[in-house]
């Protein structure tokens, strides 16, 4: 038993030594391998590709079998933008903004982004009116989709195609 544990200890020492040597090698450009960068480097090595099917799946999961009420959500976005870095988007949800009838949650999606979810807005009846204005990034020409979930269980959806000349890294 003692022998075995000694052996294990030796092996562990070897392992630790090897690991520290490897770490020393890796740490050669010291700045490059800060812990903060590790996730980013991983993402750089294995970049996330835009997946439209998955983005559509996310929207289907949110709708959860509900048919979006037509005319509930109205969005406004330019048809063509030069720079995908800042695409202005106006959202309006046609509702009374009372406790029973207001959008609990508004999702914004850009379908061809590597990370399609842009923002989530939680509105409260104190808002008075469900009207928002924001700017989002788009990696390439695609649809901007806004889904609103109302407190009474219904949902609304509106989408607009935006042509992007120069895409941003969304």
């Amino acid at each position: 038993m003692v022998k075995l544990s000694n052996r294990l200890r030796q092996r562990r020492a070897l392992l630790v030594g090897g690991m520290s040597a490897a770490a020393a090698l890796l740490a050669a450009p010291a700045q490059a391998f800060q812990w903060r960068n590790k996730v980013s480097l991983f993402r750089r090595a294995f970049p996330v590709q835009p997946d439209r099917a998955e983005a559509e799946l996310m929207i289907t999961a949110i709708l959860d079998g509900r048919t979006p009420r037509p005319g509930l959500v109205q969005i406004e976005a330019p048809g063509l933008v030069e720079n995908g870095e800042s695409v202005p988007l106006k959202i309006f949800v046609d509702c009374a903004m009372t406790d029973e009838d207001h959008p609990q949650l508004i999702h914004v999606f850009a379908l061809d982004n590597p990370f399609p979810e842009v923002a989530r807005y939680h509105l409260l009846p104190a808002g008075g009116e469900a009207r928002l204005e924001m700017r989002c990034r788009m990696a390439s020409s695609s649809e901007l989709v806004v889904v609103a979930e109302m407190t009474d269980g219904t949902a609304g959806l509106d989408q607009r195609h935006v042509d992007v000349t120069l895409g941003a890294c969304g």
Binding site: Q31, Q34, S40, E85, Y121, H122, L123, G127, E129, E133
Partner: protein, 113 residues
């Protein structure tokens, strides 16, 4: 770069009126995918994740942001005027760094005509 957090609301509104709150933060909203080939470094991700609005200490608006919100994010939303007081907008960072901007608002009763 200086940190700028700015909100703008009308100075005086009538009771029950719906007014616009315009907010602007100066922030790079770094998504963590930009690669600097000279230094062999990926610019670390740094985003504003949450925006909250409190009207006299009451939460009235709440937003979650992801990497696809533009840099120097601009956001407007509506509020209903109920009482005079202060509107405070709070931005929360990836590292839980909290920045705020506040503006007073004066609510007057509707003149009877």
């Amino acid at each position: 770069m200086a940190e700028i957090r700015r909100i703008s609301v009308p100075k005086q509104v009538e009771k029950g009126e719906i007014f616009t709150v315009r907010t602007l933060a100066r922030h790079k909203m770094e998504p963590g995918v930009h690669f600097d080939a000279n230094r062999f470094v990926v610019t670390p991700r740094l985003l504003l994740q949450e925006v909250k609005c409190h009207y006299n200490g009451r939460l009235v608006f709440y937003a979650e942001w992801f990497s696809a919100v533009s840099s120097n994010p601009y956001l407007t939303f509506k509020l209903r005027a109920e009482e005079s007081g202060e509107i405070v907008v709070t931005w929360v960072d990836d590292y839980n760094v909290i920045t705020t901007a506040a503006a007073p608002i004066d609510v007057i009763d509707k003149p009877k005509s």
